[in-house]
Symmetry: C2
């Protein structure tokens, strides 16, 4: 908890507390990305009625020069100052505050003058302040002399009450006995992509245009133009390493694979290699590097999956049995969640394998990888992640880590605090208006905002959520639109979603014939209604800065619980997006939506141009409450761009 | 913010965070009184599914032995352990947590046994754990041997699943790779009186039974039996020092006193002496010490007023002009709040007077004073209070300080954090049901609870609140009952309240003919309806432990916003008080009140004896919702004592 120092000499009388943004009282850094504004707030107060001034000091990197900004009082002893972070790296800030006796005197002087009190001594005091301020300043010296010229009392009063004197007071803070915050608060500033990214996941082995063939990186390369034209900027592959042959899983997660079955890519390693190798059927390292380079050319990063676990035939098992737990019978401990056994997976013994795992990250970074999606980080020690991510950032500060932890809230938060750039979320299961609103408020309007960057996924290879089971394309479109407009980071397990796959395995939240255990064939040449919507929304995200932040959301009142409406706008209000979505994907719904007048700085005369970015319809709104209607069979949501027109009054 | 250490060796895998009770992340100590329970809570979690155990360590004084208590998991990674503080002084606590691999193994074993899996290797693992636990324990050794006796596999399984084995697991935590909280959190434990006190304020100069005579300490002594029989345990006097004669204030705060006017006791000091002297008209130091001793004998502490400011003729002004601010014309700076001037008061220059002011406290402590009510602490530097109270506590840890700061919330909080035992509050202006409920929740259910002990006053010599202006005795009785039952510390500016004084000065929240500027004559021999109610309520407070805490309040639902109802009970439910008050002091009000069944651990059969401690009526409640009625003209509130009867089922 950053606090002001207690200087017991009676002169440093100010308390500075409740400083934001900090995470766990400064134990972890707060996070921002390049171009974001940092609002530093603090409670600053002192005894009595003296005037306080306070400065924010911030700097880029620990050895840089401090930049000083005045904090201003908002209300109830809360102060604020803001600055923009323009470079990646570590920023630091701290706060100084002091009592400005000159300003206190000036304020008292004005009140006494208004009450027509005798002010002779006050003028002498004023002159003394001026001489203390900048002794060498000739203007201030002259004024000081005039104030004490007893023969020109009225002129002296007029001088103090004049405009120039107000400027002098304002521009010359009398900075004495400064109270200093006893901490330098750290902000980690990352690439803009940490906060704004659109992920498309597919299994490279399902990339072949030819049915029944194992896809290769070369096939993937052929899909790049399709995915690029849809506007995605991250392609995420499940693990690309050799797949364990011992205890290999078969179709629909059966415990024994039939001959020829390809197994789960998350069972990493075989006699063909381990975490630093590539499954030969996918191609060579050369192919992979070509793919990375070609994707890069199209503005796409390839995100790699990091699954720190081994198949029984992973080379590590023979070469380094000490990296695993050995049971009393000499066998290696497989994964289990009693009474369930996962005998195709050996977990690492995290008491001794840290350096090797760091080398895995380093290896792939050397091949050109910039983004890692980390599989189940919550089943590995949190201190390990803190260490390894710090090590990686030392090598390359641009690396992005996505935490795939669908677990209890405190653990998800903790992983984000120790350094994960982005995190999977509960969005996948937040369906009703109140669920979505509450969750967004938790993410955006609590301390979470300073460390947890959500990445919203309507589905994953592990999760076909119940609300999509056997449902038509309306809800797929709705959930996609919500993910991509609520959160500036979002992703989709692409092909099955694009093609509306809705069949669960045995009624569970798993896909039937899950691609995790078999190769799929997709008709990559086709496009669907969803393909177009993905394209349009991604384009809107690129073109509208308001959609490039998660933190600027404001929900709008609407008299229909089936409709959720939210506004996103840039600080300058030059870009305003309004999403109006119908959560009832069967029926037409309508209602009256209230514009947040304060947020939009709207006066009594409203003149708002409304442009639907999907249908290209245009409207004009002149009221605070406006009728909206959403027919899910046409389009389950509106994506409005609002423009505030100059009032013609 | 106390956090667990980050031990980067891969074995210490637990996170401990969000530890309570702490104030500002441990920057200030939390407060408790003797006999209170301390609930220590923390978020404790780790990766994966391993079983966690956690211990609370606490000790009295820094060099004592730690006492270890197990924490238990509540839900969602929140843990708790509680202990009672039985002595005054500083307590410390910290938390250790570790993964118990033995318990993890045991839990898995039971699940696997239930699924009838092969358990040979598990038995070997169990034996190894037993040998690691307490190698010298012969019972454990024998069991370990039995587990690995291959010829008796079924017996071995039965042994692990048996009762004795469960006990062994429970009693033998396998404490390895312990994660330790990186802080020792401090709790200051004070006298019970810090949390439970009943204050009666009067001006000693108005204590004479004879009209027109200046009261003396000897007169005060004659009033002691009256006040003691009413059940008060603190008598608080406005300052008893010589009163300034220069610029003395007259009746109703006029700037010039007429000859013979007595002035305001807060204008401290004259040629008769200063902060260590007594106004001669009140008597001698000997009289004062006698009064303190006699009060003590009756269970009453005399609370002294500390007003750190001087009249212009205070001896300090001549002897130590450096303790004041001198203006350019050589005059001493008087108090002001421009354009208002308070020329009867010189504020100290707090840059240099700390030691002398400490000596004022020390002097009166040497005369027998244990309680100080501090006048306007918010106009003196907060670091001064932090220092001087710590100094005083070194001399006598039993001293109680009441902060008279009616100012902005953060400053009131800050004064409490730096050491004030009790604080005046906004209760004086909280009138409606929602105002009272919200305020109590703020005091009791936020971090405030750990440092801010409220003292509720329905009036003070400075405040006749608007809602009492020209009102009848019902509202006086109501506000008294609320103060004395909502808060375990409360006080009243006694005689004017007892006698229902309701006339304001010029419509302001000031008393007309305020006793601050003149001597009053009270008919101390009379008692009023209010006198009786004060007596009964104070008796109820003494006899019912539930009323001796502010922290145990629970508001009850009732379908009438004119009635406020709240329950206070001891943890063991052996003492339960229910207050039902009618905020409409004109009309009879009634409604249905819901008993908080969970809190009272009531089942479906309810059998509750209800005894009205004022009217001595008796009822039996057998329902969750019960009819209540309050006729303000009989009594504006019910003070019920509830007794849970054994169900006769």
């Amino acid at each position: 908890m950053p606090k002001s120092e207690n200087q017991s000499d009676g002169r440093s009388r100010i308390i500075i507390e409740n400083v934001q943004p900090v995470v766990d009282g400064g134990f972890y850094p707060a996070k921002r990305v390049i171009g974001e504004r940092v609002d530093v707030t603090a409670s600053i107060f002192t005894d009595g009625h003296d005037h306080i001034r306070a400065s924010l000091f911030y700097k880029k990197e620990i050895n840089a020069q401090w930049i000083e900004l005045p904090l201003r009082h908002i209300s109830n002893d809360e102060w604020i100052a803001s600055f923009q972070v323009e470079e990646k790296g570590n920023y630091f800030f701290t706060i100084h505050a002091w009592i400005d006796h000159f300003e206190t005197w000036y304020d008292g002087f004005k009140k006494k003058a208004a009450a027509q009190l005798e002010l002779k001594v006050e003028l002498m005091e004023g002159a003394a302040f001026l001489r203390r301020l900048v002794p060498a300043n000739s203007e201030l010296k002259t004024i000081a002399e005039k104030l004490t010229d007893q023969s020109k009392y009225d002129a002296a009063i007029a001088l103090v009450l004049g405009e120039r004197f107000a400027e002098i007071v304002n521009q010359n803070p009398l900075k004495e006995n400064v109270t200093k915050l006893d901490a330098e608060c750290k902000i980690v500033v990352e690439l803009a992509k940490a906060n704004f990214s659109s992920w498309y996941e597919f299994f490279p082995r399902s990339s072949s245009l030819e049915s029944g063939k194992h896809g290769t990186f070369k096939d993937c390369q052929k899909l790049l133009p399709r995915i690029a034209s849809m506007g995605f900027d991250v392609i995420y592959f499940p693990p690309i390493h050799p797949i364990g042959k011992i205890n290999r899983k078969g179709k629909n997660n059966t415990t024994k694979a039939e001959k020829g079955e390809v197994g789960s890519p998350w069972a990493v390693g075989s006699d063909e290699g381990g975490h630093k190798s590539i499954l030969p059927s996918l191609g060579s390292l050369y192919d992979f590097k070509n793919l990375i380079a070609e994707a890069k050319r199209l503005g796409i990063d390839i995100a790699m999956d990091i699954a720190f676990q081994c198949a029984p035939d992973h080379p590590y098992v023979k070469e380094h049995p000490e990296w695993f737990v050995t049971r009393p019978d000499g066998s290696i401990q497989y994964a289990e969640n009693p009474p369930k056994k996962y005998q195709d997976i050996y977990p690492f013994n995290f008491e001794c394998v840290w350096e090797e795992l760091r080398s895995v990250f380093f290896y792939w970074i050397d091949q050109g990888i910039k983004i890692f999606r980390v599989d189940n980080p919550h089943t590995k020690p949190i201190p390990f992640w803190q260490w390894v991510m710090a090590e990686v950032k030392k090598k390359d500060p641009d690396i992005i880590f996505l935490s795939e932890a669908f677990t209890r809230p405190k653990i998800m938060a903790s992983l984000a605090k120790v350094g994960f750039t982005q995190s999977y979320t509960y969005f996948t299961w937040r369906v009703t208006k109140s669920e979505i609103t509450e969750y967004m408020n938790e993410l955006v309007n609590t301390s979470s905002r300073n460390f947890f960057r959500p990445n919203f996924w309507p589905n994953t290879p592990d999760i076909l959520p119940f609300h999509l089971h056997h449902k038509n394309d309306n809800i797929f479109i709705l959930r996609f639109a919500l993910a991509a407009t609520l959160s500036s980071n979002y992703g989709v397990y692409g092909p099955v979603y694009e093609f509306y796959e809705n069949a669960p395995f045995q009624g569970k939240e798993e896909y039937d014939n899950s691609e995790k255990y078999e190769i799929r064939h997709y008709d990559w040449k086709r496009t669907y209604r969803m393909t177009d919507i993905m394209t349009i929304i991604n384009q809107a995200r690129r073109e509208n800065k308001a959609l490039q932040s998660t933190w600027n959301i404001q929900f709008c009142s609407i008299n229909n619980d089936n409709i959720i409406a939210y506004l996103k706008c840039t600080d300058d209000l030059l870009n305003i997006i309004l999403v109006v979505a119908n959560l009832d994907t069967q029926n037409n719904q309508s209602g009256f939506l209230q514009l947040p007048k304060a947020k939009l700085k709207l006066g009594d005369k409203i003149n708002l141009k409304v442009h639907d970015l999907i249908t290209h319809e245009h409207f004009t709104w002149t009221q605070e409450w406006n009728f909206v209607e959403v027919d899910p069979n046409k389009m389950p949501f509106h994506l409005f761009k609002l423009t505030i027109e100059e009032s013609k009054m």
